[in-house]
């Protein structure tokens, strides 16, 4: 067990270090002088040039530069945003709540919608099953930005039920503003979770132990919650990594569509204005969140399915 945990932790740490090296080193892959790349087309004073030189340690050799940047990053210091003339960390911190709330609301839609629809499709073979699977085949083909615009047109322009733009102020107003964006992000993945849940539960339903349980008189809710749900959970959990990555990048698109000031829209804006310090920081942040959440799921898996620790044998 401890061996399993240590291997996973070490793997995550190595991945993050390598990723940070790439995110930092990439700047020097680009043809041209790093200083002029960093400045881009922006008008800045010679004092600021001195700050950038110092911040990126441009007078130092490459390895020392990386160490300067990485130690700063670990302490939460990613330097100065040229476009906003502001500390990158503060800038990102002010944007985190919106994105976090968006992802949480989306997760609620995906988990509830996907599990319920998947279970219904698994148990109600025939017309209900075909209707659900047919619908998910379509939702799986609609990109997030098209869903966003479809929702905006229907519920903001047409019915005027929800706002099409902005964050809102105050907690409930923010929730209200995030209903459409979180749905737009969720719909695609609801289909994915539905299909996987259905397939996993079908497999369990057709297995021998379920037949035996039925013969013993275990039917209905006990059969579902104690047997089918628990045993199909590991298969459904394999989606978690897909979902986490998907939401981290979909949030960027949705934030642009709905004009939300979250991390994603900040990233896109910074890419456009070549504000490289912000791009590096957000890229690193997203990868870290992705790696850490995957790690947590990996470490929780043995609680759901003890077989994973034994290396998948004995199945």
């Amino acid at each position: 067990m401890w061996r399993f945990i240590l291997i996973r932790l070490a793997g995550g740490a190595v991945t993050l270090v390598l990723a940070s090296f790439i995110v930092f080193g990439a700047m020097y892959l680009v043809p041209g002088d790093p200083l002029s790349n960093l400045i881009g087309g922006m008008n800045i004073t010679s004092e600021q040039i001195a700050i950038i030189r110092n911040q990126y340690g441009l007078d130092l050799p490459f390895w020392e530069r990386y160490v300067v940047w990485a130690t700063g990053a670990v302490r939460g210091d990613f330097g100065l945003s040229l476009q906003f003339q502001q500390n990158v960390t503060n800038l990102i911190a002010s944007r985190i709540p919106t994105t976090a709330m968006l992802v949480v609301m989306s997760t609620v839609w995906i988990v509830l919608g996907g599990l319920v629809l998947g279970a219904v499709a698994a148990f109600k073979a025939g017309r209900v099953d075909r209707a659900i699977i047919g619908t998910t085949a379509i939702t799986a083909a609609v990109p997030v930005f098209i869903t966003s615009l479809l929702l905006i047109y229907t519920f903001s322009v047409g019915l005027r039920w929800f706002p099409a733009f902005g964050n809102g102020t105050g907690f409930w107003d923010q929730v209200y503003h995030l209903v459409l964006p979180s749905l737009a992000m969720g719909i695609f993945y609801i289909g994915l979770v539905t299909r996987t849940t259905r397939a996993a539960m079908r497999t369990e339903l057709e297995s021998d132990y379920v037949a035996v349980a039925r013969i013993r008189g275990i039917v209905g809710r006990p059969l579902f919650s104690r047997h089918i749900f628990r045993t199909s959970l590991p298969t459904i959990m394999t989606l978690s990594s897909v979902l986490i990555a998907g939401m981290l990048v979909s949030s960027q698109i949705v934030e642009v569509s709905f004009g939300l000031s979250g991390i994603g829209s900040l990233l896109i804006q910074s890419v456009k204005s070549v504000d490289f310090a912000v791009v590096q920081a957000i890229t690193m942040l997203v990868i870290t969140v992705f790696v850490v959440t995957n790690l947590i799921v990996d470490l929780l898996m043995p609680l759901i399915d003890p077989r994973v620790v034994r290396g998948g044998g004995n199945r």
Partner: protein, 289 residues
């Protein structure tokens, strides 16, 4: 979307598809539709009724069916049918780069890894695992930050981001084949390793890989359209369907949805067709046994 996909790998493990008939009418519909789209991508600029960039401020957001504009016009009065026909080419070129690149890399890395095994496999598998830490769209956006917007930069980034999916599938498939009796029989008969791989193993693993490639194309279409939508792909005056959707958002908010609607329908239908083809291939492969 975004590269992190329940790819053919997952389709092989769990039966997520509905059983398809052998002579599936939807398969022919998909192939026919994709053939039409490819044709449009090739001849689009020659059959477009108008220059797609001609601005006509007297006909802004004209609804579909307006005299002379079958599908209507956008917020600058540009003919939408013409833009749809011309935009097809740049919409498909990016995904083509992604798929050719990631399939070649995936087949080579996965093939070598599965065939040779041992420490080579260990090393390559670590690299594949590491690449999985980069969500596809994020890598593409990061590449644009470095090299500037365009068609090729995000496409190359996505090709790299998609590689681990195909490589892992290839590795697992090849590994399963290597253990089979026919491979050791051929070795005993004195055939060379490369010969056995190319003539016998590769054909046996090609169906799932083809399915992966076809599915990958649809994910690439979605991701690159998203890149264009975000304004990080093709730059005006050039355009693809993703950029058309982005530019049409103003019209949509003003109550004229068609500049967004047509390119959206095109993208969705292309993706559905590719997805269906991919699922058909994997379905046939599973029932071969």
């Amino acid at each position: 979307m975004t590269g992190q996909i329940p790819a053919a790998d997952a389709l092989l493990r769990t039966d997520t598809t509905v059983r398809l008939p052998r002579r599936d009418p939807w398969l022919f519909a998909s192939i026919g539709w994709l053939a039409l789209v490819v044709l449009i991508a090739i001849v689009g600029p020659w059959i477009a009724p108008y220059d797609p960039n001609t601005v006509d401020l007297r006909a802004i957001n004209a609804p579909p069916g307006t005299a002379g504009h079958l599908l209507g016009t956008d917020q600058l009065g540009r003919d939408l049918l013409s833009r749809l026909l011309v935009g097809a080419r740049l919409t498909l070129i990016g995904p083509l780069i992604v798929i050719v690149g990631s399939t070649l890399l995936g087949v080579i890395i996965g093939g070598v890894s599965g065939w040779i095994g041992g420490w080579v496999d260990g090393l390559l598998s670590r690299i594949i695992d590491f690449l999985f830490a980069f969500p596809g769209l994020l890598l593409a956006i990061f590449a644009v930050a470095l090299f500037g917007p365009g068609v090729v930069t995000p496409a190359i980034a996505l090709a790299i981001a998609f590689t681990p999916i195909g490589a892992r599938l290839m590795r697992n498939l090849v590994m399963r084949e290597v253990r089979k009796d026919y491979v050791s029989s051929l070795r005993v008969l004195g055939f060379s390793g490369v010969g056995i791989f190319v003539r016998h193993v590769f054909p046996n693993v090609s169906a799932p890989m083809l399915s992966q490639t076809v599915l990958g194309f649809s994910y690439a279409v979605v991701d690159l359209a998203a890149i264009s939508y975000l304004g990080l792909g093709v730059q005006p005056p050039e355009f693809d369907w993703g950029l058309m959707i982005s530019e049409g958002q103003q019209s949509l908010l003003a109550g004229a949805p068609w500049p967004v609607l047509w390119p959206s329908i095109m993208i969705v239908l292309v993706v559905i067709a590719f997805n269906h083809m991919g699922e058909y291939i994997i379905d046939r492969y599973q029932r071969r046994f």
